[in-house]
């Protein structure tokens, strides 16, 4: 952190042009709630920081007929207080309310949480169940990838040199859909998740019409459940099916023992969190 240069612009194309030419080691910074901590703990050692928090193109929330686009530099507080996101993507709002504290959420951004690519990032399972796409921009180029293809491993993602996250496009949930975000941590606020899950489903005529489920903090990346939705789709949920689905949790996740928790605890707690969601069926 000795000779650090901050490069800030309110013009996206100007910043992208500078970024493309940059030959030094750099990091992108928005609210800084992760980057500053990594810097202070010497976990990253950039020569310069590109500050995207002044780019108005990255700070918009646009609501369309069937999707919502959220700029990467919109703060979590602003997403939480947005009435349309609360209405059409409540699972994202529930997840963001679990991040840090009000002080953190006033600075932290969705782009930062995803760009940091931690397996424990609370917004990521919610983005999974909302079928989010990540819009990436660089000088003269734009591309879009699915959230599950964006993150490659702990703190690794597909962003290449010169690229930044511009926005996220998520599904607008229907009024007949329900969703949950549940998290287990050491305390309510400011505790990184030991395990979390995002769940979205729709019932029609007592049958499960659709179900999206994802687990966080229990593998190198967030895990999208395939077996459990498969088990339920087209069926009437009953206690037997719920028991069976909970027993599938340990087959789908790959938790590890680390300083935050143990693999055994993580499996058990996710089984219980899932049961809590599924009990809503009956």
């Amino acid at each position: 952190m000795k000779n650090l240069q901050l490069i800030k612009s309110d013009n996206l194309s100007e910043l992208l042009e500078l970024l493309k030419k940059e030959e030094r080691k750099y990091n992108i910074i928005a609210g800084g709630t992760d980057v500053m901590v990594l810097l202070k703990e010497f976990l990253i050692d950039p020569q310069c920081l590109y500050d995207v928090s002044g780019l108005s193109e990255l700070k918009e929330i646009l609501v369309d007929n069937d999707s919502i686009e959220i700029g990467s530099a919109v703060t979590m507080s602003d997403i939480i207080s947005d009435s349309e996101v609360s209405r059409y993507a409540p699972v994202l709002v529930s997840a963001l309310k679990e991040v840090g504290s009000p002080l953190i959420r006033n600075r932290a951004t969705l782009g930062g949480n995803v760009g940091n690519s931690s397996p424990a990032g609370d917004s990521i399972p919610a983005l999974f169940v909302l079928n989010a796409r990540v819009n990436i921009v660089s000088e003269g180029n734009e591309r879009s990838v699915k959230i599950e293809d964006f993150i490659l491993g702990p703190r690794r993602n597909v962003l290449e040199k010169g690229e930044i996250i511009k926005s996220f496009v998520i599904d607008k949930m229907g009024t007949d859909e329900r969703s949950f975000f549940l998290k287990a941590g050491s305390r309510n606020a400011l505790a990184i998740s030991k395990a979390n899950l995002a769940f979205r489903f729709m019932l029609k005529d007592n049958l499960v019409k659709s179900m999206n489920l994802s687990f966080g903090s229990v593998g190198p990346v967030v895990i999208k459940s395939t077996m459990i939705p498969q088990l339920f789709i087209g069926k009437k949920p009953d206690p037997g099916l719920i028991d069976k689905s909970c027993s599938l949790v340990s087959e789908e996740i790959k938790p590890i023992d680390d300083f935050r928790s143990t693999a055994k605890y993580r499996v058990k707690v996710l089984e219980n969190l899932l049961r809590k969601c599924l009990d809503e069926f009956c």
């Binding site: 901050l6 709630t33 500053m36 901590v37 504290s101 009000p102 002080l103 600075r107």
Partner: protein, 154 residues
């Protein structure tokens, strides 16, 4: 890098190193030492300041990022040597023991009451989630805020 900020209504222009945190800037460049450093990584809230109307952990904000900003610190609370209503309430309810968390607590409470003048106990707890107190057990702090918002049965 040259920055301009307004702290507690007073304008400052300073040339700062780009790796300087806002916390260090406020304490060492401006000389306002009411804002404390606790954990230094955005968890304890001792360094809380109000930046453009929003509470932030100043230990994980760079001073250069605050260029052009309006900042409020605990020193802006009392006017003409008289404590604010909120400060008085903290005093009366013994919401202060060692005092290290108090500047941050008062600023988080101030922001809460500005946005939500009659918060419920749950809303008060949520607003203070990012401010740790290791002395009081929080109860007196919650009562002080309830009283300051005119919700205390006496």
């Amino acid at each position: 890098m040259k920055i301009n900020v307004k702290v507690n209504g007073k304008k400052y222009e300073r040339d700062v190193r780009e790796n300087m945190t806002l916390l260090r800037f406020i304490r060492e460049e401006i000389g306002l030492t009411g804002t404390k450093e606790g954990c230094g990584v955005g968890e304890c809230g001792a360094c809380t300041v109000i930046l453009n109307g929003k509470t932030v952990n100043s230990c994980i904000v760079l001073a250069v990022e605050a260029d052009g900003a309006v900042i409020e610190t605990i020193e802006g609370e009392a006017k003409n040597g008289k404590m604010s209503k909120l400060q008085n309430s903290f005093h009366e309810h013994h919401a202060v023991q060692c005092g290290f968390c108090t500047p941050g607590m008062v600023l988080s409470a101030k922001t809460l009451l500005k946005e939500n003048p009659k918060p419920s106990e749950h809303e008060i707890k949520e607003a203070l989630e990012g401010n740790f107190c290791r002395c009081t057990g929080y109860q007196q702090i919650i009562e002080a805020i309830q009283d300051a918002s005119g919700q205390m049965k006496k």
